[in-house]
Subunit: 497 residues, 4 copies
């Protein structure tokens, strides 16, 4: 018998007896639980609870709200092992990778601890004669977050801690594929002192999403997922008058200049291409080599490293790479590899036939390396979301930049070089939101903000960091002048008391 994961509404775990679907352990291919899919009514109940909790929470001083975040950080650290096991079991990523994810999430909680400082508005004395003017950044009300399977702990922590620290209440719809860690984390927030109803979690599918999008109570929507869904969310939210930030897909290129420190680059790229089985929106899936010399060395070196890569169950911390999330994903990734071969790329390492002993039904695909990939191939154009790295050979940095700028996505990119000018030229001219210089996964730290360009992000404000404070608040500008009332002039003795 499996355990059914439900919702967290008004501070209580809720199961309504509605539709469910199974949850799998991707390392074994076995069902490890079930998740209930929220109906319109259930989502509306969550929204109603958030709305009810809003007035009191909004009026709680920011410094008090921060106290919840301080305690929450400590509880996350104390419960890290349990959370990571939940992540690994349902997602498949190796425990140490789950720990890295959680750590990044905790850093977002740390940022939220600074909310009294972050919420400061701007004050102008004498904007006019005896007139003062200032801005306040007030919470929006009820806001919603919709998050993907690949970072079940981290991406929700990008959103709701900042949102509730700003004084909002929240309805989170996480991925239904790996729902357990997010609920555990939400319970820790309650334990840390978050009042009931401030954070609500509903599991569900399109029905739940659409209920959030069409609710007139929900003021804003944050989304992370694929680009087609991001576009849907963004345009539906706009149609309903909401503010929205919708983060979509990626195809992240690294550029290797002739002066690349190759050892450093190869180590960096192994993790960035194959970590979490490539299921990261910041995964490096393309290596653009400038000149054949570096290309040849790179391919040789990667091939050698891949041979030693340890693939297996996420729950075995000695592994370096785990399975994909579902059997469908496994099939889709293998299909891309097939297509790459058909379309003429040189398959240097083939991960299609990998079998992990004892985990024969796990959704594994081995690390795969293509050389001589061209921009017309589907393994280049599409976000594969699997452990497939494509080497594209070019002759100059200009050519590399053109390639990247022509791609529909603009999430992350990276250049390997020792040369100041090449790095500066690249970072300046590249149409990508997050750029690394000798840093393969340029995910901004929690006190900066996360956001791609082009079809990788819809909206004007990025996720987490300073932008989150702006996204989750509404500017109010007050202009004030006081008429003289006689208190400080006139006949003060006769003032009525």
């Amino acid at each position: 018998m499996t355990n059914t994961v439900g919702h967290l509404i008004g501070g209580e775990r809720v199961l309504t007896g509605g539709r469910t679907q199974p949850v799998y352990n991707p390392s074994t291919g076995e069902v490890c639980g079930a998740v209930e899919l929220a109906s319109v009514e259930t989502v509306e109940q969550a929204i109603a609870n958030a709305a009810a909790a809003y007035p009191a929470w909004r009026n709680t001083p920011p410094a008090k709200r921060a106290q919840v975040m301080f305690r929450f950080k400590m509880l996350l650290e104390e419960n890290a092992d349990e959370i990571c096991e939940l992540i690994s079991t349902e997602h498949g990523k190796v425990l140490h990778d789950a720990r890295g994810e959680l750590q990044r999430g905790i850093e977002n909680v740390e940022f939220a601890c600074g909310i009294p400082q972050l919420l400061k508005g701007e004050h102008s004395k004498n904007a006019g004669p005896d007139i003062d003017s200032w801005s306040e950044f007030q919470p929006l009300g009820v806001v919603a977050g919709i998050t993907p399977f690949n970072f079940p702990a981290m991406v929700p922590l990008w959103m709701w801690p900042a949102a509730v620290a700003c004084g909002n209440t929240f309805v989170l719809k996480p991925s239904e594929r790996d729902p357990s860690s997010v609920l555990k984390i939400a319970e820790l927030a309650l334990e840390a002192g978050l009042p009931k109803g401030v954070l609500n979690v509903v599991n569900g599918d399109k029905e739940a999403v659409d209920t959030l999008l069409h609710s007139s109570t929900v003021q804003a929507v944050s989304f992370v997922g694929s680009t087609p869904i991001a576009e849907y969310i963004y345009s539906e939210a706009a149609k309903n008058g909401k503010r929205c930030q919708a983060l979509g897909g990626a195809k992240n290129h690294s550029v290797l200049m002739p002066d690349t420190d190759l050892e450093n680059a190869v180590n960096a790229m192994m993790g960035a291409a194959y970590g979490s089985c490539g299921e990261r929106c910041m995964a490096l899936s393309v290596a653009v080599t400038v000149g054949d010399e570096i290309a040849d060395k790179l391919v040789a070196s990667l091939k050698e490293q891949i041979a030693g890569l340890k693939v297996g169950s996420g729950l075995d911390n000695s592994n370096e790479m785990g399975p994909l999330i579902t059997a469908d994903a496994q099939k889709k990734v293998k299909g891309y590899i097939d297509a790459g071969v058909e379309q003429g790329a040189e398959l240097v390492v083939d991960g299609r036939d990998l079998v992990v002993p004892g985990h024969e039904n796990g959704y594994f695909v081995g690390a795969t390396l293509f050389d001589k990939v061209t921009p017309d191939m589907s393994i280049y154009t599409d976000e594969i979301f699997g452990p497939v790295l494509a080497v594209v050979r070019v002759d100059s940095l200009e050519e590399a930049i053109k390639l990247i700028n022509d791609h529909e996505y603009g999430n992350g990119t990276c250049i390997f070089t020792r040369d100041g000018e090449a790095a500066r030229y690249f970072t300046d001219n590249i149409l990508v939101g997050m750029v690394g210089v000798n840093v393969p996964l340029p995910v901004p730290v929690s006190y900066h903000s996360f956001g791609g360009w082009k079809r990788s992000l819809f909206g004007d404000l990025s996720a987490y960091g300073p932008d989150a404070v702006r996204f989750y608040t509404r500017r109010k500008t007050i202009t004030q002048r006081w008429p003289s009332s006689g208190v400080r002039e006139g006949v003060v003795y006769s003032f009525p008391s």
Copy 2:
């Protein structure tokens, strides 16, 4: 024979021989010119010119871009009389009111002069060991602005000076009803040194608007107008993946507390209700009186003041109020007054029959005052955009706040009181973006930002001021680590030169 106003594309005045429509002088009701309505091709030509001018302008250092703004400010001041006459002739507002509008616009140019300071990104040393991270706020590319008839000079100056100071190039579609001042101003920008193609102006109607909305080159759209159009713009822009800020309608309430300084309040309200014939999105159209005592005094005092109000041609600077923009507007406003009477409001002053001698065909409606208006009447629910002030009587501040918060709009509001606590309670709890305390028109100064709440603004960033810099730029975050290259270690003598 009338003069036909065309477009400004690539630094040149352009007339294509396409569709035109007449431009009227509302003070006389006579045609004073014509305006050409841009076709899809004309708008696309403007976009193409903006795109062509972008790379060089984007790479011009911000401090150089600011020099254009410094000179532009001076030219606007030197040419103020001519600009104001153009505004007044085509819009109808009195010259001194046009001057006020222009002055506010110039202040936005002054703000843009500070762009080197405003564009600063955040730099973190040691975001990790030997890793630095910083943000850059880079321009978007080609952006568009769509602006209303009521502030033909000011609202465009809310948008494009900030946008181009940030390094963007711009296509402006102003109102086709009063197109001349905006073109004059654009020419002054060229004279100030703005390179050709950086700012383009196309006159037009829905065809022009839709071309901008559907262009894949246009990265962002700023709009000011009515709420239904704002909603259309916002959802269409989102559907096309653009960022958008769309400012819509308003119904601005002032609250008069029992301790109101009445003389101050009445003076303030006369200008705020009837200035520019009520055709302002920040016009005060509702006075909410707390207690009958202040209501009675207010109505009596306003009635007296209205009796002395000088209404007439905008070109006669001794007037205090001019005509409405069109015959249609005149008809619509009179219709609202009819409805107010029918629905039971007490018509204290009736402006329907006003005739201005010598300007019998001008689109005048006199200052109108209703008392005992209730929330169900159309003169309360709708934005009239005419010189009609409605007094609503309530018994408490709580009731006043509820009334305002229940209205669909949330642009501006104001409280008149001498009491610190009442003001603080009001500004805190009111769901309105711009709040005045004893300030009737709480338009934020140029170094703050302009934005309503609820259905008065769609988007997450407000107009002009600091928000404009964020709206017209895209965050790029760079994370940098340098591998040791031997330059400062190893055998330095043998380094290749």
Copy 3:
């Protein structure tokens, strides 16, 4: 046999067998311990330890330094009872007051947790063509703090958490009168992970202070104490080329307008005048009444409240006021009361003869109230640092402002009124650094900064909050241009690897 408190140097408790002096429990007048007074050599040893710890700590990423602060906050909360008992035993303040002090100190630690955000420098792309420029705020090196007896836990926490979060190492010389809590707190910092030598504590007297002032290693000095010593510290530090912030004495006035909410004001003033026996640099020691009506009511009401004030041992939490710090302080305060009577003030409540049963040797003085005090009296001109409140009667707000602006100190002040205009006029025109409106002790919250004007603060930056980050860092501005190196142009294939 008493316990001798020594120093904390390089992470170890140190006793050198040097000079000592007794530590008293002011509630009983009995010796409760001894404190060693550091010699030149001992202070130099502390400085040397700080210098040795500096390079590694400076290079620790700010986010890692913040982790120490997060843990430190939790440890302070867990050990609050013990710390407060140490404070109360040696200082005499009532336990709940010690708890308040500690809480304020913890809030400074919370602020330091946000150091990654607070240390951000400003980055300008294209300061010139292809030239970038940015600022970094780098630590100073070894910095020193010298703190007073009246807040043994809080004032050190104003200083060193911000300083070490910025990357500095620290030598603290706290008050030798109540040395135990500060050492306990320093040990908790070590437990939280602060590396040895980053924070050093030396107890001592002028010899220790002068050693710090003359050390060429010490880069900056923060001081809180009396004005004559502040002046000495400030000029000596300057003579030795150091940066310095030296906070001195105060005489804080409250102004009661005719429309004062009296009950609120009296409650507020009881705590602000008599809390901690008046030994606070933010204590309210003067009440300026505008008009005799409010004066008469105030004096009557205070007299009644004072009658019920519970004075006794600091270790009994049911008390509201404890003893003064020393027998000397007791004698000095009584001397001021004598002088007030001689100089003609009206002594409404006389605290000179108070005896606390069972604590006959404690350094108690009862709450004392003078009416009709004039600006020439020593109870008005001097900072008494005891439970003495002086009422000065004036006829207008202008007169009240002149009185306050003419006083040599300008630390804190407060106005009681309901009137927006009176409050704004007062806060604008008063030459005082921290101003309350209906808030009797306007100590800024930890994310703002603390600083008086006139002879209450010497230096340009205030204590704690944002200013502390500037005070404890040095701006470095980097301007960078990269010459083209051929990597991205030229013959890329032949580049040497």
Copy 4:
């Protein structure tokens, strides 16, 4: 008969008939005027005028104060030729160099135009329950500036535009050696609308300086000059309780790495070492070469360039270098060259015997180059303030950094390299306030701040840019709570009006 330059006090040119001294044209060695040296009384009169102008100016809204700066910028541009001729005549620098100086000064005026934005304080809603807190940055009152001869136009413009934009009034004591341009500039400020008395200029010597330092009216002092005087100013100002920023001397090193782009570096260094005859606190006077290969090339290349350097009268714009400021300066610089030879440095190019035909009495010294200079020589330890460049040869970047960090000054420095890691390592570890990467004179742009480290700056805030706004303002923090007054509750009808 020569013209005597006096003072500008209360908006009027003032000559008191007091002590005078001659002003020379350094290009000819002839007297070109005289300057009156202010007595104590004259300086006190200037201070009194500044004090009288303060209240009205302080209450002028920042946006109005900015208008003066906008017009002042334009007037400076329109009068640039005249100003530069005055600079060149009295200082000797070549006209184009004077133009560069003036341009930099104008950029400080541009920065001051943004004062409404720059003065914004921080506002916290709900710092506690219903308690708001915010900071205001208020002007100090009368502040003083004392400026050096080498940038007679620019350095005063670093100070007073920011100071007066902040609302202060100012007394400037410029260098008595080249007094004319500063007075011309001050008159343009009046023409731009600066009220009389807001800016006062007194010429003088130590008597004037000490009067400023001892005045109880003067709140702050900004100084730029030599280090011994800076120390005197800093400690005297502190002794008198003032805030002070005192910028002193420099010995700016450039480091040439083996991968230096030599052509770029040599061009850069010619201007940086010999421009303005080396009389700049940012002049590059030491070249540290890493490895003999780059050293040999550098010396050969500089020697060749020096041979073509055109030296002559400042008023002839075809020249590249002019004379020193005085005969004494000429003698002193030649003495240093003598000492360099005696102490064993290799004199590659000797400028001692330079004669400029037609200007035989001008204070010329030719560009001088020493190789193989060691740290013990006086040409290395001292700031020569003349056209003398010393090459010091080292073997590694570490050695170069140690050399620089051991020098008493820390104003500016620069590294020439193409290597990202070397640049980052250098900028991180160097104890210098302004650091260039391939930028020889890393003077921060006007919207950053100027400040050295070590004995090059005394104080905690740098000159101009954001720091100037902090230096010229005092933080006031207001904490506000409103008691309920019955206006919005209770029986509103009976409220007294």
